[in-house]
Subunit: 356 residues, 2 copies
Amino acid sequence: MAKRPGSRRRTIKDVAAEANVAISTASLALNGKGYVSQDTRKRVLEAAKRLDYVPQPAARQLVTQETGNVGFVLRADHFTRSEPFYTRVFLGAEFEAEQHDRYVLLATIPEQYVPGEHSPRFLRQRNVDGILVAGKVAPAFLAEVEASGLPVVLIDFEKDHLPNVVVDNQAGARSAVDHLLGLGHQRISFVGADMEHPAVASRLDGYRLALSAAGLPSDPSLILAKSGGNPDRETGKQLGERLLALEPRPTAVFCVNDATALGVLDTAKKHDVSVPRSLSIIGFDDVTGAQTSIPSLTTVRVYKEQLGELALRYLAELMGGAEQHSDRYQRGFHDIKLPTELVVRNSTARREGDHE
Amino acid sequence: MAKRPGSRRRTIKDVAAEANVAISTASLALNGKGYVSQDTRKRVLEAAKRLDYVPQPAARQLVTQETGNVGFVLRADHFTRSEPFYTRVFLGAEFEAEQHDRYVLLATIPEQYVPGEHSPRFLRQRNVDGILVAGKVAPAFLAEVEASGLPVVLIDFEKDHLPNVVVDNQAGARSAVDHLLGLGHQRISFVGADMEHPAVASRLDGYRLALSAAGLPSDPSLILAKSGGNPDRETGKQLGERLLALEPRPTAVFCVNDATALGVLDTAKKHDVSVPRSLSIIGFDDVTGAQTSIPSLTTVRVYKEQLGELALRYLAELMGGAEQHSDRYQRGFHDIKLPTELVVRNSTARREGDHE
DNA sequence: CTGAAAGCGCTTACAG
DNA sequence: CTGAAAGCGCTTACAG
């Protein structure tokens, strides 16, 4: 088990010798390629196990001209924000990569990306076979990735015709607002920021669809949005102030994510507005903090690990399939949309005075 | 810039041809090794730049028998907890690795580690030249790492005589308690969990030292500790209840970290105990949530990125220096201790009724 | 079905 | 100071 100093690493040569076959036969047997008799294969596999043989990645990489790595890129501020959304996405990707016997190289880039300066090293060195990009990033970065010619899959973000794996934001938002409607609410506000973000835009669409499907007018004054900026807790606090100042005050609010929802909750507490009695609040994402807030937050759960898993699987398909398929037929990129799940907790309740 | 399909990757052969030298000379010039004339070196470097040459890591790895990678291991629950402490440590290590032209491979392990089953893949495949371990991990894992013979540096944790980079927990705790003493507090409680954790134990030491240096007795009933478990927000809430029940009630509390401090704050709010008027609370770490809580949290700042940076630099020394030094003289491992910084915010105040 | 040989792109003694 | 050659550990045509 332990590699004592001096116990040279085993090579395929050792395995071949041990199994009494040529190196090439050992390679074939080990990789399950070509024609190798049952008996020989078994002998080789046993020899490998007996010698505790582990192939050296570098040697294979040199001949196959593949690196065995995939890059995972996200903005540093997304990686270190207090609720670990993309961290979980990363873990999902890493888990799936393990199944494909690939390593994931993580790189963070700043929000304000400058191509030459901030390029991930694995891009410059071409030390990956494909790239996952999580969340919103600067267009300049995506342009650089596209120019590299490497296969890429976006996660939780969309851009042009790049392959992506996203959450079904519209359906999720709709289920959230339907939940509020079902509780008798009619005056339902929307709180959000970064409205150009595709996910945010889709959630707003879902909000509107739910209202119109219920025959309710869409009142623009109920839509509270900071056009720029990020949908974080601070933004939630600020928009919460505007929400509470509305006349008449909405009885419920759909927030574009949990962070803003928690911010609105902060503001409600500050003004002694009881949640959920006087104001129902619903978020989106189901981050850890949604369970521990007081009251706990009703929200729309996103399966974060699964986002990463599916993205890596998709990327593997793009990487592996490239040579095999490109000549046979044209492959269209497809978008993958992950369903969400409504999680009802204690921040939403039947509208005061409403009787079913 | 863009790698158009068909524009084969440049190799050292291309560079040598372009510069009119032998491959070996090109290699020497590129790596700044051996004797190469000024003029030749310049010609090679220019040729490389002109051709946009990037060495292929796999080829070098094959001959040097180094992987160019370092492993970064931490517990999954530490990675995904809501405040990104180790995420920042990782970023610091990754940043420093870039300077050393190395890649960082991240692996998470479960709290309950089972050697065969949960071993990081890069350990099994020996695809790293050294390992960083962040935070507390199962002894079984450390045993496995030691058995591998790979150089290792622990971060924010200590075990036997393994090299480590830690925070100066004792001095930090002492500065925290000194701060409270300076505000006139005498009855100061300690809140913590996982008391066997070296960092936790050191913080308790610091607490005791500060009290005894001030000539105050150390009252065991003031030390509130959950022996097992993790020092998280939930624990803080629970111990907060015990704290408020003490007779007479302490006027200040030093919490072993920010998470427990925020938990105590939750409980204080629940019982309408005004912070800092009736109770001063101080934490440790300075996580993001310490700035945004109401009131904001006085705490002891830990330089998280720097922990990672220093650890990687230390590891690089162990990896690179191994062959060069081992025969010449014995090198002792040294511990690296990072100073902290007291950050005074709004959760601590002069003791009620105390006059300077 | 199996073996001998070439070659991936580098680095490193070794001659000169 | 520079070049020719060997070799790192694999995979992959190509013979047989």
